[in-house]
């Protein structure tokens, strides 16, 4: 259990985190979303015990991160932003150091090292110094360090930054695999990552929580939620089709993207226009090259919430 109790962090000229409270339970993967400078990193640093909050406190598994820092830190695995490590060391010596500091016994240390080397595919670079590694490998060394002691709580600040699509996929798989009995908090800019791994999302801007909800509920806030996108085989019929669809009760409006001739029909409140549109298409003999139901667009919800504008 992570319990953040109205944490606030003030710097001389700004309030980085402003009275933020939330709880995370085992099994949850919490995604922190927000524009740059929103306070994501500061919040994670406070949970990890690196930044002391100006007010409020954080309990990790019941231990106060400030006053019982050793107990709390033993239960946390933390990947700081940018995955800092010691560039002149090799991944092997670096991870051995972390294992020693974390007090892993000799047998446990060896078996855990082998496990994380394999999990993160570090074997090819174990004897190279870290400063010669690619960004992707550096990030994976940082992840290895965070999960080495199999912690109850994982705090990962942008865990997939700098990874290629395959590596991102693997890291997300790893997070999903570990999520069953752990508490995982990740921060990210990538909205697809929230959909892929998170069971809950917090959107934070200017140091305050704007939204705390499941990704599915977030999507349903999008005006694209339950909208229907379609493309005609013969684009010249578009105008006729558009008029007919707009006339449906289930549809409030339509938009046509001039770049690719894709039409989107937005649903009336609490309506699902897909069935009506399909029936109409069969009756009228329209031929679609594409027809699908939108679940909602997180990026649009994110923009709407964080900028207050209507996308």
């Amino acid at each position: 259990m992570i319990d953040c109790q109205s944490i606030t962090k003030k710097y001389a000229h700004l309030v980085a985190v402003n009275d933020v409270s939330f709880k995370v339970s085992p099994g949850e993967v919490l995604g922190f979303l927000g524009p740059n400078g929103a306070g994501k990193t500061t919040t994670m640093r406070i949970i990890a015990g690196f930044v002391t909050p100006t007010a409020g406190r954080v309990l990790v598994s019941g231990f106060d991160v400030e006053s019982q820092s050793m107990e709390a830190k033993q239960r946390i695995g933390y990947l700081p932003e940018g995955a800092p490590s010691y560039p002149e060391m090799t991944p092997r010596s670096f991870l051995e150091f972390v294992a020693d500091v974390r007090g892993l016994t000799k047998g446990k240390k060896l078996s855990r090292l082998e496990e994380v080397f394999a999990l993160l595919h570090l074997e090819p670079v174990l004897e190279q110094t870290i400063d010669t590694l690619s960004k992707g490998y550096k990030r994976r060394v940082g992840l290895a360090q965070a999960i080495l002691h199999d912690p109850e709580v994982l705090i990962l600040d942008e865990p997939t930054d700098g990874l290629d699509p395959n590596q991102k996929h693997e890291v997300r798989g790893l997070i999903n695999q570990m999520s069953k009995n752990k508490i995982i908090v990740i921060s990210t800019h990538l909205l697809e990552e929230v959909e892929a791994v998170c069971s809950r999302a917090i959107i934070i801007a200017e140091g305050q929580i704007l939204v705390d909800d499941t990704p599915a509920n977030l999507e349903s806030r999008s005006r694209f939620h339950n909208a229907v996108s379609l493309k005609l085989v013969d684009p010249s019929r578009m105008e006729g089709v558009r008029t007919a669809i707009e006339a449906l009760n289930e549809v409030t409006a339509t938009e046509v993207d001039a770049n690719n001739n894709r039409m989107t029909a937005f649903p009336a409140p609490n309506k699902m226009p897909l069935a009506a549109i399909s029936e109409l298409a069969i009756a009228q003999g329209w031929e679609f090259s594409e027809l699908h139901l939108e679940s909602g667009r997180l990026d649009e919800v994110f923009r709407t919430i964080t900028t207050g504008e209507n996308a």
């Binding site: 690196f50 946390i76 940018g82 800092p84 002149e88 060391m89 007090g103 110094t129």
Partner: protein, 244 residues
């Protein structure tokens, strides 16, 4: 204890995986020899002792020890690895002690590697090896004093050059605390008690006793206290300024 040793070991791995360690040791050995034989007139004195060797140690340490200590914390701050270190289950005092011990052990190694000069003086004459041992011990404690001051200053900045310069100046002040160069700064306005107190902090005065082979407990206590005080200050700085 294990955590302190883990940090010490990690630091030493870092020293020896960069040219730093080798450059330092070579320069230390070259300079100690050069000073002993050329400036110290080791042969011309015609005496079987190593005072020509030890008398230059304070001045060598003045520049070489800050070169070691400047990176201790400033580098961690600069590279961001301090965030990693401070979020591992390590007490700040353990980290301070682990790093200090690593740097101190490294300087001890450099001192041990000066053994050829000891062999030389034993070959040429019949020196009092007890005096030489005492002087080595005193030299190591003095190096520890310089190191603790430098480590403390390094913890206050992320800029290694600033850490180096401030450490040299601070160490210079301690070195000459008993001399008019420093005392004149205070004697005009400070009460005599304070001036005397400052004068008693002088590294040179304390070291000159030891290097003559007179192990006065007070001198060792002085350097030990100095180390403890600055390491404690280092710990406080870390508590106050973990981040930023």
């Amino acid at each position: 204890m294990n955590r302190i040793l883990a940090i010490t070991r990690r630091e030493l791995i870092s020293y020896f995986s960069t040219p730093l360690a080798y450059v330092f040791i070579v320069i230390f050995l070259v300079l100690t020899s050069a000073f002993t034989f050329y400036l110290g007139n080791f042969y011309e004195r015609g005496q079987a002792d190593l005072s020509a060797f030890f008398s230059f140690h304070p001045w060598l340490y003045l520049f070489l020890v800050p070169a070691i200590s400047m990176r201790l914390w400033a580098e961690e701050r600069k590279s961001g690895s301090i965030e990693l270190l401070m979020t591992l289950p390590i007490e700040p005092r353990e980290a301070v002690l682990g790093k200090f011990l690593a740097a101190w052990a490294f300087i001890a190694l450099a001192l041990i590697l000066t053994f050829p000069i000891w062999v030389t003086v034993n070959f040429l004459g019949d020196p009092d090896n007890g005096v030489i041992f005492a002087a080595y011990l005193g030299s190591l404690f003095m190096a520890g004093g310089f190191l603790a001051i430098g480590a403390f200053i390094s913890a206050t900045t992320k800029n290694q050059v600033i850490a180096f310069i401030l450490s040299v100046v601070a160490c210079f002040g301690f070195l000459l605390a008993g001399f008019s160069l420093v005392l004149d700064l205070f004697s005009s306005w400070a009460p005599q008690v304070l001036v005397d107190a400052i004068a008693s902090l002088s590294f040179l005065t304390h070291f000159s006793n030891i290097s003559k082979g007179v192990i006065d407990l007070r001198d060792l206590v002085y350097f030990s206290l100095l180390i403890v005080v600055f390491l404690y200050a280092n710990t406080i700085i870390l508590h106050l300024r973990k981040a930023d």
